[in-house]
């Protein structure tokens, strides 16, 4: 009798295991897709990856526009700290833009592994001055980030930007594969959904672009607007098929708190890579502006010395979207001579 019981128990256990596993497998495979625990995917739609797209805050990182203050602050001189301060003061002073507790992202152009004097990258001195300025204004954290064309570590090292930024108290973010997310930019022509170097943006409240003045083989000049290219990932090399449309898209994608145009060294030919001191001339100028188009137009006319030539097409494209005014002469510009 006891033996029968044991046999039966064993049989029941076995049956239970078979039935449980069969039912479980059957449920997971056949239950309608909406049911909990169902894995059913009749047409392959459920299995498609759906990358989550991010959006930057509405209106970007811009501060309240001011009707009174100049749009463009131009400081001439050779001492970058004083120049930067004067240029920013001209558009309202750093406290207009950065308040205590802000997390500020400073975006230099470090696209190539070039020593700073070759003018292909933002001057480390200017980056450092900007970081100090933000910290003085009470920023709780200042980050410096770029996704260069050449190897990031090497670019940041040789350009001197890493050291300058770190010494001035910033954190440097070098891009790694995991740092990119899909960014949605409603209204953009080409980059409405594009991989974006998001990691340094996590928690950021203010974004300041700081770009050198460079000749550019394709879009003719690379300044503060083109600078945002360094936040994109993915197949950037396709973007050159409509570079002006892309630069206009960039202006739409990122509305900065303000931008600084680094006209200390001007790469006036062989851009955007340069590589010879003969390609660089002294600019002795820093420009701060809440309007990157105005700043770039100033750079085109004044720093690249191409006032006689029509502006590259991206100015008009971006301006027609209401992203700024390339007509810096009739916009409000203030110029200060510093030392």
């Amino acid at each position: 009798m006891a033996e029968m019981d044991e046999d039966r128990r064993r049989l029941l256990k076995g049956l239970g295991a078979v039935a449980g596993l069969s039912l479980g497998a059957g449920y997971a495979a056949l239950a309608p897709p909406g049911w909990p625990g169902s894995l059913r995917d009749p047409d392959g739609e459920r299995g498609k990856p759906r990358p989550r797209a991010l959006r930057l805050p509405e209106g970007g990182f811009a501060v309240e526009p001011s009707g009174v203050l100049p749009l463009l602050g131009v400081a001439r001189g050779s001492r970058v700290d004083a120049m930067l301060r004067a240029a920013v003061d001209a558009i309202g002073g750093i406290r207009r833009f950065v308040s205590a507790g802000d997390v500020v992202l400073v975006k230099p152009n470090v696209a190539f592994e070039r020593s700073a004097p070759l003018g292909a990258t933002t001057s480390p001195e200017v980056v450092a001055a900007l970081v100090r300025l933000c910290r003085e204004a009470g920023a709780s954290e200042v980050r410096v980030a770029d996704n260069p064309i050449e190897s990031p570590a090497a670019c940041f090292e040789r350009s001197g930007v890493r050291k300058a930024a770190v010494d001035a108290g910033a954190r440097v973010y070098l891009p790694t594969a995991a740092d990119f997310r899909l960014l949605e930019t409603p209204g953009a022509t080409h980059i409405a959904r594009w991989p974006f170097f998001w990691r340094p943006f996590a928690g950021v409240t203010k974004v300041i672009g700081v770009a050198p003045v460079k000749d550019h083989n394709l879009c003719r000049a690379s300044m503060t607007t083109k600078n945002w290219y360094g936040l994109l990932g993915g197949r950037r090399n396709q973007l050159h098929q409509d570079i002006h449309g892309i630069v206009a898209d960039l202006a739409l994608m990122l509305r900065p708190t303000f931008v600084v145009l680094d006209g200390t060294r001007v790469l006036w030919r062989s851009g955007p890579t340069g590589g010879s001191l003969a390609d660089v001339r002294e600019g002795r100028t820093l420009v701060a502006s809440t309007d990157s188009l105005a700043a770039d137009a100033f750079g085109w006319d004044d720093l690249l010395g191409r006032a006689g030539e029509p502006l590259p097409a991206y100015f008009a494209k971006a301006a027609s979207r209401g992203l700024g005014t390339p007509d810096w002469r009739s916009a409000n510009a203030r110029e200060v001579q510093v030392g």
Partner: protein, 561 residues
């Protein structure tokens, strides 16, 4: 345990050995970890390769010179002559890896261990491997890197382990413990690093480590050419394990932890002993000691008949039945040495007359890093350690596949511009190369500036356009990424600018690119950045490289003497 003070117990020699192994494995990984632009500073990144005496000896055979830091091999050579193959169980990081794996996954009991650690004739193979490799090296085909443990381990870390570890360190691990992401091997690499044949290098590691489950220290005992080299040398060593036949009861417990399978229970095989000293710990009779200048034989000193209880040595009864205490030389019969030598003699032409490594019919994609010496010398020097591949910031340097470089060039560095490009201001590969296959090259030399202005820049190849695939040439579509990124000044890529009317009636200005061969250095950034990503419309091949007169492209492009 009583008697000896705590510090003596703590500094028990086997404890110290474990510390030493951990230290050198840590140092080894650290040095590979700093092999990266932002960390390199002055670290001797290739220290282990440089102090690998087999690297020094074999390159001396092939080149008749000792390059740069390779004298450091003496740092291992001299201790070996004094102590025996201590390197294998005190320093060698690859040996430590195998020992640790064997220890961790061991399921044997004592008896199984004792059996697993007996000497087997299979362990001769490493000597034959060594002989073949050295004969080939002497003829000019340096192949020690295929199996040299340091080369093998450096290559494995660079090509397989670092790329495998980095994403999880940067991702999941960093989320669990913030800051872990800073530990990645390659910080600031914008894309995951990929390597040709990483699967094979990685699986080889798994296979060799897995072999420890069957035969403990399989690689070290059976395959390692460096171990064989040191084993041959250790016949001269002044120290060895010595067995006291008056104490030894032939219990074989000493075999329990014997790493080298060196027969400490009988006649010690000096060439096999790793000097791990486990046998001393395991001997219940204190019959084993690590002694200076021990007697090579005690048989002549034994008085009386060897047998139960009758023989004595120095007045003490001889307990062990085995009176032999030492085997000096490796257990390889002379005819087998001969076979190995002949095999090496024959293997050399087999490898060398494979087409791709020769001046005639060289492979167009075997693009060597800047500073590389001409191909025949390169093959005399390159040990396939892939430190250059490890330090390369753009991932362009790849271990060559069989299809590109044959077996002789397998795992030697070549550039793959689909993956990366040669960064203009970078000469790191030449800095870390331990053997001078990539000779130390200053940036001024690479770029042809300053004192090198007359020689011009180092060219590693030449760019060509495939007009059938180029957007402006073939598809009425604007694009000049190649010109934008071209780093020379003036640019080596120019454009013919042309305004045309497209098929759909829209006007468009095309900048149609062309190469200025006098300016092109073959850096390949144009190919890397070309939007036609699968088979780029601009591509670099090795022709025009300045390291070789045979491979010039332009009249007057010969390299300066």
């Amino acid at each position: 345990m009583s008697g000896s003070p705590a510090w003596v117990r703590a500094f028990r020699i086997t404890n110290v050995r474990v510390v030493s192994q951990a230290f050198f494995l840590g140092l080894f990984l650290f040095l590979l970890w700093v092999t990266w632009l932002s960390r390199l500073k002055g670290y001797p990144a290739s220290l282990f390769l440089e102090m690998d005496p087999l690297v020094g000896f074999a390159t001396a055979l092939s080149t008749h010179t000792v390059y740069r830091w390779l004298w450091r091999g003496i740092l291992v050579l001299v201790p070996t002559l004094l102590l025996g193959r201590a390197f294998c169980n005190w320093v060698c990081p690859y040996g430590t890896l195998h020992q640790a794996a064997g220890w961790l996954f061991d399921i044997r009991g004592n008896r199984g261990r004792i059996d697993a650690n007996r000497y087997r004739p299979l362990y001769q193979v490493k000597y034959l491997v060594l002989a073949v490799l050295l004969v080939m090296a002497a003829l000019g085909a340096l192949q020690i890197g295929l199996l040299d443990p340091i080369c093998l381990f450096v290559r494995t870390v660079a090509v397989a382990i670092a790329p495998a570890v980095d994403p999880s360190l940067a991702g999941a691990a960093d989320r669990l413990v913030p800051g872990f992401g800073a530990l990645v091997f390659k910080p600031g690499a914008p894309e995951a690093r990929v390597f040709a044949g990483a699967w094979f290098v990685g699986l080889l590691l798994l296979g060799l480590v897995g072999a420890n489950l069957v035969v403990p220290r399989f690689f070290c005992r059976a395959l390692c050419p460096l171990g064989a080299f040191l084993g041959v040398l250790s016949r001269f060593s002044l120290f060895r394990i010595d067995r006291d036949v008056t104490k030894c009861t032939d219990c074989d417990l000493c075999l329990k932890g014997c790493e080298g399978a060196a027969d400490p229970q009988g006649a010690l095989r000096k060439s096999e002993c790793f000097v791990c000293l486990n046998c001393i710990d395991d001997c219940p009779e204190d019959a084993l000691r690590f002694r200076f200048n021990p007697r090579p034989s005690v048989a002549g000193l034994v008085e009386g008949k060897s047998g139960p209880g009758t023989a004595t040595l120095g007045g003490l009864p001889v307990l062990s039945r085995d009176l032999a205490v030492e085997v000096k030389a490796p257990d390889v019969p002379r005819r087998r040495w001969l076979f190995a030598g002949v095999a090496g003699l024959l293997a050399f032409p087999f490898l060398r007359f494979s087409k791709d490594v020769n001046a005639r019919g060289f492979h167009p994609k075997a693009i060597r890093p800047p500073g590389s010496v001409a191909e025949p010398e390169f093959l005399e020097r390159c040990i396939k350690c892939d430190q250059c591949v490890n330090v390369c910031p753009t991932n362009v340097l790849q271990p060559a596949r069989l299809a590109v470089a044959g077996l002789e060039g397998l795992w030697t560095p070549v550039m793959d511009f689909a993956v990366g490009f040669c960064q203009l201001n970078c000469v790191l590969c030449s800095e870390v190369c331990p053997t001078g296959a990539i000779r130390k090259t200053s940036l001024a030399r690479k770029l042809g500036l300053g004192a090198f202005a007359e020689q011009g820049p180092i060219r590693i190849g030449t760019a060509f356009f495939d007009r059938g695939r180029c957007l402006p040439w073939a598809m009425e579509t604007p694009c000049v990424v190649c010109e934008e990124v071209c780093p020379t000044t003036p640019k080596a890529i120019g454009t013919y600018d042309e305004a045309i009317t497209r098929w759909d009636g829209r006007p468009v200005t095309l900048n149609r690119p062309y190469v200025r061969p006098e300016l092109c250095i073959g850096c390949g950034i144009c190919q890397r950045e070309c939007p036609v990503v699968d088979d780029a419309a601009v591509y670099v091949t090795a022709v025009g490289e300045s390291r070789s007169d045979e491979r010039t492209l332009l009249l007057g492009g010969k390299k300066q003497a």
